[in-house]
């Protein structure tokens, strides 16, 4: 059946879900929240980049200090075969299936809206990274997000989805390519909508994007790219 997928993020100070427009990597020395579209031109290597989530024609929030204090650049590696932690709805992008089923999901990065090439300095040089996890939810309201932990006993409301795929930390996103034995994408797996009567919600995918190795070797300019979820449905 046709599938419906929403993309959003959670704003913590004035708690609400927002439809994501753009992920912005720009200077951290701006006030958060700020008007959508605000950018600061900084010299690579002079300051660390900050991650912001933006709503079309509204505000953008810096994820680090306005959402939840966390390591802004990356997640520490965690053994995905035992427990999963470090993800939090307050600093991640959420894909939610609200009806239907989608198969062969693959999350990766392309240079533009054509979703077909990687002719971009950040992507080609392996600087586009993400940590990803998919799960379903049985904790009632989604308006009180907590750490995403499943497989452990700390917070069992996050559950493995019907077709679990291991979370991955700090992977490179680069089209459909592979590097040695590592895929430069997250996937492939399936997501299935859970009926409300099942006591579960989802399935969900949460993604925390970041940029690696931003230093003086990065040329001046705007380096736009698109993080994309590929999927199939009937």
């Amino acid at each position: 059946m046709a599938v419906t997928i929403t993309t959003s993020f959670y704003e913590y100070d004035t708690p609400d879900w927002h439809n994501l427009s753009t992920v912005v990597f720009t200077s951290p020395n701006l006030v958060s929240p700020n008007s959508a579209g605000t950018r600061s031109h900084i010299l690579p290597g002079e300051l660390p980049l900050a991650t912001w989530y933006e709503i079309t024609g509204d505000d953008m929030w810096r994820i680090y200090n306005r959402q939840i204090a966390s390591v802004e650049s990356f997640y520490p590696a965690v053994d995905p075969t035992t427990t999963v932690s470090g993800f939090d709805l307050r600093n991640s992008i959420t894909f939610e299936v609200t009806s239907g089923e989608n198969y062969n999901n693959r999350l990766t990065a392309w240079d533009s809206v054509t979703h077909s090439s990687t002719n971009n300095f950040l992507i080609d040089s392996g600087r586009v990274k993400a940590s990803c996890a998919n799960y379903s939810w049985s904790g009632g309201t989604e308006d009180a997000p907590v750490n995403v932990e499943y497989g452990g006993s700390v917070d069992p409301i996050f559950q493995l989805p019907e077709n679990p795929f291991p979370p991955q930390y700090n992977i490179t996103l680069k089209g459909n390519t592979t590097s040695g034995i590592n895929d430069n994408y997250y996937g492939d797996w399936d997501m299935i909508y859970s009926l409300p009567t099942s006591g579960r919600a989802g399935d969900y995918l949460i993604v925390r994007p970041w940029l690696d190795n931003i230093n003086a070797s990065v040329p001046y300019g705007v380096h736009d790219f698109v993080i994309t979820l590929h999927y199939s449905y009937t």
């Binding site: 533009s112 809206v113 993080i227 994309t228 449905y233």
Partner: protein
């Protein structure tokens, strides 16, 4: 997900063009692509579009499956025991969306034949044109879900 294609500019009744920074994609118009099945009594049922295909409303027992693209091309699929058509799509976090292909899985006795109908063509990878069909094989599925539809 609504039925908007923010990155499809200058869309006509037939197709759409997507302008990227290094590439330009010509795509079918997803509103005007659908399947047609014919039953033994002559009854014909038409699907809807690529957003909501209508496939899950189709009853088993048809004898003919055909795809109609917005370009006017008609692609008949040979007769097999059952079919599972999957629309391959991609959704960017910026709302951009591309329809890549329809992969029709066709059940045989010992394997699944895949008919892949291309829905876009671009200026970088020029091997594929809209309406091209690539046939392949894959192993039988471990389980058959309800979206498989059987012929009579």
């Amino acid at each position: 997900m609504d039925n908007q294609l923010p990155n499809f500019s200058h869309m006509t009744g037939q197709d759409g063009k997507v302008y990227g920074s290094h590439n330009t994609v010509n795509s079918i118009n997803p509103y005007n692509c659908y399947f047609v099945v014919r039953y033994p009594d002559g009854k014909v049922v038409r699907g809807k579009n690529l957003f909501d295909t209508g496939w899950d409303d189709i009853k088993d027992g048809f004898v003919e499956l055909t795809y109609v693209l917005s370009t006017g091309k008609i692609i008949p699929i040979p007769r097999f025991k059952a079919y599972l058509p999957l629309v391959e799509c991609s959704l960017g976090v910026d709302g951009s969306r591309i329809f890549h292909a329809i992969q029709v899985k066709c059940l045989e006795d010992t394997c699944v034949q895949t008919w892949r109908i291309i829905l876009k063509e671009d200026t970088i990878d020029t091997r594929f044109k809209i309406g091209d069909v690539f046939v392949g094989r894959e192993p039988l599925p471990k389980r058959m879900n309800k979206s498989w539809k059987y012929t009579s």
